[in-house]
Assembly symmetry: C2
Homo-oligomer: 493 residues x 2
């Protein structure tokens, strides 16, 4: 693995494989909180549960777990089986003055599920609320519990010939509730890019009652209640279920890839496609380094992965026009094929494998970080250049970029950083990279996150990004439904 | 006019044309508020200004103005020229304890701009902040002031070969700020149905500072600051400008119309088209009565107006597939043509003429109301039936329906009610119709409004529709940025 990584990256890795600190050797601080008898059945303070609910899945999390550093575990992990269970946990937490951190698949890469700096904390694991409850085949919608992970909900929808088609990179572990709370990005590179776009209604339990919107295909009745919960990251309520839009499985699919002499030329083609109103399902542009690392690219050309899909009609006219735009902008395209063919298939496979590969970085001595943003097209070339340069300067490693999502008015660039670890100093290495990236993004007019959420890691830059009166309004909203401030304190507010 | 209306509707109108009370005969209550000297230049208490800012454009408003009833005019009308002017008006209002009602084109049909029940009120007319300030041709976006009315902003965008393509029925008078504050519905029957979908960032002045989001094509950084302003109906801040997505003018356009034996059969075709992912620009289904009234229909068949448009590519493949779906569902379609042809052209012309025609209703003795909702497909047939029946029972006139917007998971039905007036009792007639319609909509699972906003007229039903903790959160948010509660009190909160 270290050799493979070395050959790909050119890093001179020492080849030593460090062993993780075994779980049995980890000493957790004693729990500072004990559940009341009535909740004993759904609560535990077992070290295994506390350890597995201490961190998310950022590299910063992996390295701490690897080294056996579990300094801020939750005191208790609760596994509610019903909504009344959730309510009882909130009541208890309010009485006890303990924080409640809603926990879905635990795949946050921004410190979203971590009890960092909290004096008493309950991790509220929603995995037992994990079923598809109802399907409306007429409206193409389904009522799904928050704790349902990607494969589970899609399997259950599949029994009805339907699919949510929301596939974040964390798909195998992450949950509907987590996607909603963090405004997750999914499968589609255009149009329904965020889970937000698939929501009919959301139901959440707050310390002051249940917050459930009416199930509607669209509405203009005042400020959207759903949009206030979307992205609230557990600070306003515990999302327990939602009605979401589903669809028939696509039967018409075309995929191709195209190469460009430069990333900028590829970006111009992507802009043209995004502004043409063709709505490809995939339209991801990889720079030459990323294409080489993940898709067998030659290291000199940018690679565009382009796909159209439909459950209703053949998509040739859409693909044909997109390929005209590719050629107009100097791209050389392969003939379109069915799905998972050629380089685009290689990319997809690498995309889904990536989170698992990453788990080996602490052992082989590589520091990794991925971060992402969105910016308007007029500012994109400068953002790409300044962010890459700023990160390269502190990381002294490889910095690659792809356009993960595209809009008519701008792309969502996604950056990957890999650098040899200074063993024992990985966290400060990572912190320096995160700070350099975030500063450069804000300076270049981007958002601190397009789909990874804010969590605790992005807070300093998020606080500068958001308008002050909005921050005051959000605090006011939270105080009204969570007066004791127990819900995921430290995130957003 | 009365004869024409009688022949169309079958109403036995008396033919008497009542004259409106002339403006000179109207006696307004004396203003209870005088602007400070520093604001004298941009404020007026002239009767003409106060009268023209008393009401919106609902029938309920027209009939009161017609009868010379201006019981709750604003005390002062302010015409800010700059954002600092807006800030100064807010400061004065807070000191004086006066309400501030942001006013765009004054086309609210829900009592949104009315000082109903307020003891001191300033109408804040934004018409002098009415320019396109900046165009970004690369990202296809423009920075536009809130007071810009539809024709003005489109003319200015047209100088760059661009258009916003947001055409509500009130287009000629209504403004960008009004659209944003009320989540207005526009041109597109699918996809970008609301102005919400065209927003990059919003700037508003609150009593506690300016609320301006970063200009972004997409973001997942916490709760959306823009989505909290969209639909806030002037309660959180005075929207002064926004960056919006614009586009090249469409050059490829195909329009057709199709007839169906029943509205339900047509609705099934519309559902199929909406769920096929074809994204027509127009997909409006008129019931037989509405088709006869507005589009020369035979009174027996439902009429579908269907159109596709693109600035980039010919739209034949899209139209062809949609027409296949029309035929599959028993529709008989005309061959597609360029825009504004045949019945669809007649409908468009009637659509834009309608608000002007309506101005004559008080004179000829007709009570009119239009209301709209959205509902999921599974509930639509029952909603259509129960709402129509409930309104017909109290209105004892004509009730027609069209599907104005369509989503994969449901339509937005739009109802028109016409009935002979009991002269002098029109307001209670209207109130009865509004109450019957609203009760039936809520009972059938619809939203109290899809794109007309809440205002003061929909408040009782809106309060029942929204989740209680959300209402508390919204009040908390408002208290943080508008602690004196001066911004459009009575609307939403």
């Amino acid at each position: 693995m270290a050799e493979l990584m070395g050959s790909f990256t050119g890093f001179e890795l020492d080849g030593d494989l460090e062993d993780p600190v075994p779980a049995a050797a980890v000493r957790l601080p004693a729990p500072r909180l004990a559940p009341p008898a009535a909740l004993a059945e759904i609560c535990t303070a077992e070290p295994y549960d506390r350890m597995t609910h201490t961190y998310g899945q950022a590299y910063r999390d992996l390295i701490r777990a690897f080294r056996g550093r579990f300094e801020g575990p939750p005191d208790v992990v609760a596994y509610p089986r019903t909504e009344p269970d959730v309510e009882r946990v909130l009541e208890w937490a309010e009485r006890a003055g303990a924080a409640v951190i809603p926990y879905g698949g635990g795949t946050s890469v921004v410190g979203g599920v971590e009890a960092r700096g909290l004096s008493q904390a309950i991790s509220l694991d929603l995995s037992r609320l994990g079923q598809v409850l109802e399907v409306d085949p007429t409206s193409l919608a389904a009522r799904i519990q928050a704790g349902a992970a990607g494969p589970v909900l899609n399997e259950q929808l599949g029994e009805h010939g339907l699919t949510l088609r929301h596939f974040p990179q964390s798909y195998e572990l992450s949950t509907l509730g987590g996607w909603l709370a963090t405004r997750a990005g999914g499968h589609f590179a255009t149009l329904a890019t965020h889970i937000d776009d698939l929501v009919e209604s959301v139901r959440a339990i707050t310390p002051r009652g249940s917050w459930e919107s009416r199930r509607l295909p669209g509405s203009g009745a005042g400020v959207s209640p759903d949009r206030m919960l979307l992205g609230s990251e557990g600070t306003l309520g515990v999302i327990t279920e939602a009605w979401v839009r589903v669809q028939a499985r696509p039967v018409h699919r075309l995929t191709t890839s195209a190469t460009f002499d430069s990333f900028d030329a590829g970006a111009e083609a992507v802009r043209a496609i995004a502004q043409a109103g063709l709505h490809p399902s995939n339209c991801r542009l990889l720079d030459a380094a990323e294409a080489r690392l993940t898709s067998g690219g030659d290291g000199e050309h940018a690679l565009l992965v382009l796909a159209f899909e439909s459950a209703d009609h053949p998509v040739e006219p859409w693909m044909d026009r997109a390929l005209e735009l590719v050629r107009t902008h100097g791209g050389r395209a392969d003939p379109p094929r069915g799905p998972r063919a050629g380089q685009s298939g290689a990319w997809r496979s690498a995309f889904l494998r990536m989170p698992y590969l990453r788990n080996s970085y602490p052992a082989i001595g590589v520091v990794a970080e991925t971060f992402e943003t969105a910016v308007t097209w007029d500012r994109f070339p400068a953002l790409h250049q300044t962010v890459s340069a700023a990160v390269r300067e502190v990381a002294r490693g490889i910095v690659t970029c792809r356009l993960a999502f595209v809009y008519p008015d701008g792309p969502a660039p996604y950056f990957t950083v890999l650098t040899p670890a200074r063993r024992g100093e990985e966290i400060s290495q990572w912190d320096e990279i995160k700070a350099a990236a975030s500063e450069a993004i804000l300076a270049a007019g981007g958002t601190i996150t397009h789909h990874h959420a804010v969590g605790r890691d992005h807070r300093p830059w998020y606080d500068r990004q958001r308008p002050d009166p909005f921050a005051a309004a959000l605090r006011g909203a939270k105080a009204a439904v969570d007066p004791a401030g127990i819900l995921n304190p430290g995130v957003l507010i």
